[in-house]
């Protein structure tokens, strides 16, 4: 039976030593990818991969990546919410593509400047 082997574990261990654990409340920024049915159908999983790729390539250790359900604005999916620790409110970005994700990292995550052209609004929906 194929399963994760000792050699695989070593590789994973090696990789995971390179970054800190992404724990709730421990990061400088938190990125939430909305993954309801609407988001997934619109390509949210690829957006999540793009976010993970940016975090890894930029060697950022203080970013929390997570995903959540439907944000209630299905026609604008895929959407992400970006929260910075010292920012007053979360920013919701709409109609995301991997290219737009890169721009959001360049500007919002790295320079704390909102990418206004892709932003829907400042604020957040109730999740529960």
């Amino acid at each position: 039976m194929a399963k994760i082997t000792i050699a695989d574990l070593e590789k994973i261990r090696e990789e995971s030593r390179r970054t800190l654990v992404l724990r709730e409340g421990a990061g400088r920024a938190k990125i939430t990818v909305h993954m309801g049915t609407c988001g997934i159908a619109a390509g949210a999983r690829d957006i999540m991969s793009a976010v993970l790729k940016e975090v890894e390539e930029r060697e950022l250790s203080d970013i929390i990546v997570t995903n959540s359900g439907c944000a209630g604005l299905c026609s604008k999916e895929p959407m992400i919410t970006v929260e910075l620790v010292n920012f007053p409110a979360p920013v919701k970005y709409i109609e995301m593509t991997p290219g737009k994700i890169k721009q959001i990292f360049d500007s919002h995550i790295m320079k704390e400047q909102i990418v206004k052209e892709y932003a829907l609004a400042i604020g957040s929906e109730m999740t529960h």
Binding site: A2, I12, R18, T19, M35, T37, I40, R45, N67, G72
Partner: protein, 179 residues
């Protein structure tokens, strides 16, 4: 949804929302019998008969952000459009089971898609849910358990970006080995 792995991600979202502690995903590809079976089990809050009767309708959801729920109807449509079936069973307080079958060789059967991406997305989503993934194809199988991986790595959680990216590659490779 373009492929089965996206349906898995979508339907599993319901399990996580239902507070599942354990999520089990089984895939069996049997090319001799010409059938692909997908089963998703959870031990979340479950549904009573009344809700269960309505859940296959797109106009039913327990969510409050919008009034229609399409995840289960989408999966049902994907299965039935290629000579398969979808059955959902549930008991309040016990959990839910979704089983879908697909005629393997049917021209309209969606491809399996990228399971590794789906598993990583679920790990990121599900802080408190342990995932078991079992994939069989013509006698070969691949098994993955988050609980076991955490124990082997000696970590409390798997939400590290480098770890997830390398795990994704390993799972992709393991699944390609049973194909």
């Amino acid at each position: 949804m373009n492929d089965i792995s996206l349906h898995i991600l979508d339907v599993s979202e319901n399990s996580i929302q239902a507070g599942a502690k354990n999520l089990e995903i089984f895939i069996v590809e049997d090319t001799k019998k010409d059938i692909l079976t997908l089963e998703i089990f959870d031990d979340g809050k479950g549904m009573d008969e009344e809700i269960l009767k309505k859940v296959e309708s797109p106009f039913e959801t327990s969510r409050t952000t919008r009034k229609v729920g399409l995840g289960i109807p989408f999966l049902k449509e994907a299965a039935e459009s290629c000579g398969g079936t979808m059955v959902i069973s549930s008991a309040k307080g016990k959990g839910t089971k979704v089983k879908a079958t697909f005629k393997y060789s049917h021209i309209d059967r969606k491809p399996l898609g990228d399971i590794a991406e789906t598993l990583v997305a679920l790990i990121l989503r599900a802080e408190k849910t342990e995932i078991l993934y079992l994939h069989k194809k013509n006698g070969k199988e691949f098994i993955f358990r988050t609980r076991e991986l955490k124990r082997q790595l000696g970590v409390q959680n798997l939400k590290k970006v480098n770890l997830l990216n390398s795990l994704k590659e390993i799972i992709k490779h393991k699944i390609s080995e049973i194909q």
